[in-house]
Amino acid sequence: MTQSGPISSCARAATAEEAAFRIDYPLAAARNTRVVALDVEAEEIVRRASEMRWAQARFYSAADPGHSLLTMSGRTVPLAGELEDSNTLVLVSTSGENAEAAATIGAACKARGIMTAGLAVTSGRLTGEALFALRPHTRILLVPAEDDDLFELLRATRA
């Protein structure tokens, strides 16, 4: 193996002393996340998360066929409008209900280049209808997710 140039100083920035010189500035806007519950139990989980303080996350429930969403305050809004400016969408399912809505939302996200994640909250079961309802439409899926996984995911991604 050959070295193609002089040793640069950047490698030494890995020391504790040099790491202290990393410049400090506020990070840009948080992710613009939408969270959608696909059944009644999932809605309880989503509602609890919605009561926390978030940067730009918005929370909904959905039923088949999924072209509209229901906000946590009960207002019906069109799916397409709520996906504008979004870059991440999280689907939450406990039972696999409303699989058509999952498909509609997943297709809309795919068309818009929106990252999708899924939480199959199935209390200890490693498989089930929730898994198969979410799998085709989510880039990453947690199985079985716990109640607080939604909160952890949103917080970790600065939602």
Partner: protein
């Protein structure tokens, strides 16, 4: 993103810290057996979980691991004489047996019982496979000996190495959990590395650069399944197990040996990256072992202190021309150094308050959550997982399954290590 206090909780493993207490409930690899290869051989300094220790092998082949410093005046026992059943401090001749018990204090009268009251803090050190394992926790809570398959296969079927990684253990571990970087950072190695190339699975890897992920919470930790398109109606799955707190395995490729890692904290700013290869049903070939010794696959070429020859002092021997030619993606040669160069570049303990995670980092997010919960639960008296034999008899898996099948159901018992049974691989 993690809050500062959670980052500190997860990254600090010294005595009395929550994560340090968690680590002290597991046998950890601390030395290669080759480092204490002969009775009465030279003692070896060991720093693990921010404790400075000395290891030696006495005249009868018993392994000792104890406080590095003589109880008398604090001299490092690395300078000691290992002879006649104990390690003797060269300063005034105090001598300790493999349990840390003082057995001679020459300045005392021959009939004195002073020795009986002098004992260095010591820990059990046992050999399993080619590795010496230490348990630094409460003796009353000592778990069964390690049952990882790579240390239980017959002689000649495994090869283990270690290398110094100059950063906190957690950012090294997170690299082992984060399957999504493989398609980029290690993309040049699938065709060139003798321990990776030639498997049918590689074609699936290269044919689908945007895998989907399923993170499955199971008793010992997590199973991270990366799925790619295979033949019509089928997915190619690569399943990586993570067992708490610091064990990962890489999914196999063809009949190549299976590999994996431990990430063991030295202190909060350094760790040992342990790398192993084994085959469940056959001896490793001379060619394979030669490649491993040369630093290929998951191993690295190191100096006599197990520090990689390519390290941050020489910019990891960055080769921009190889990068331009496409031989390596990052310009760094070798999978191990490709990982460690980037992980060390984050700084000794990365500031996770500044990171920008994305949804595909859910495996890392979940692992952090499980580590935090396990550490906090232990403080409340809840026993951790991962230190039981059933947690450790685990395998990574590569498999093609029908698209409508759960990968956990599909792999079935393929993820359970069974003597003499081949790995499930593509």
């Amino acid at each position: 993103m993690l809050r500062t206090e959670i980052n500190e909780l997860l990254t600090q493993t010294g005595p009395g810290t929550p994560m340090g207490d968690l680590f002290r409930r597991y046998w950890q690899p601390v030395l290669l057996a080759e480092e204490l290869s002969a009775n009465d051989g030279p003692p070896v300094r060991v720093k693990v979980l921010s404790e400075r220790l000395i290891a030696f092998r006495d005249s009868e082949g018993r392994y000792g691991l104890m406080d590095e410093f003589c109880a008398h005046r604090g001299v490092s026992l690395w300078f000691g004489r290992n002879e006649e059943g104990g390690l003797r401090c060269p300063y005034h001749g105090w001598k300790y047996d493999y349990t840390g018990q003082a057995i001679e204090v020459p300045s005392e009268p021959e009939t004195s019982n002073f020795c009986a009251n002098v004992k260095l803090k010591s820990y059990p050190l046992v050999r399993r496979g080619d590795v010496l394992w230490a348990y630094l926790g409460d003796p009353a809570r000592q778990p069964p000996l390690p049952e990882w398959e790579f240390v239980t296969v017959p002689e000649g079927q495994a090869y283990t190495s270690k290398r110094l990684q100059e950063c906190n253990w957690l950012q090294a571990l997170e690299g082992g959990i984060d399957s999504s970087h493989v398609s980029f950072l290690h993309s040049g190695s699938l065709d060139s590395d003798p321990l990776f190339k030639g498997s049918r699975g590689n074609a699936y890897n290269k044919g689908d650069l945007k895998p989907f992920f399923e993170v499955v919470d199971y008793e010992g930790g997590l199973l991270i399944g990366a799925r790619r398109n295979a033949e019509e109606g089928h997915y190619y799955w690569r399943v990586t197990p993570w067992v708490l707190p610091n064990f990962t395995m890489v999914p196999p490729r063809g009949d190549h040996p299976v590999h994996g890692h431990f990430w063991v904290p030295i202190d909060d700013e350094n760790c040992w990256a342990w790398s192993f290869d084994y085959h469940p049903t056959r001896r490793l070939t001379e060619t394979e072992v030669a490649a491993m010794r040369a630093g290929m696959g998951v191993h690295s070429a190191n100096d006599e202190n197990y520090r990689p020859l390519a390290n941050r002092d020489n910019d990891y021997l960055m080769d921009r021309e190889a990068q331009r030619r496409g031989e390596t993606y990052s310009g760094i040669k070798g999978i191990a150094l490709q990982d460690s160069s980037l992980q060390e570049s984050m700084g000794p303990i990365v500031d996770r308050t500044k990171e920008r995670l994305v949804a595909t980092d859910a495996g890392i997010i979940k692992a952090r959550q499980k580590l935090r919960k396990a550490a906090l639960a232990l403080a409340e008296g809840v026993e951790p997982v991962g230190n039981r034999p059933q947690d450790q008899k685990v395998r990574s898996v590569a498999i093609v399954l029908p698209a409508d099948q759960s990968f956990v159901e599909g792999i079935g018992e393929a993820m359970i290590a069974k003597p003499g049974v081949p790995q499930t691989t593509v």
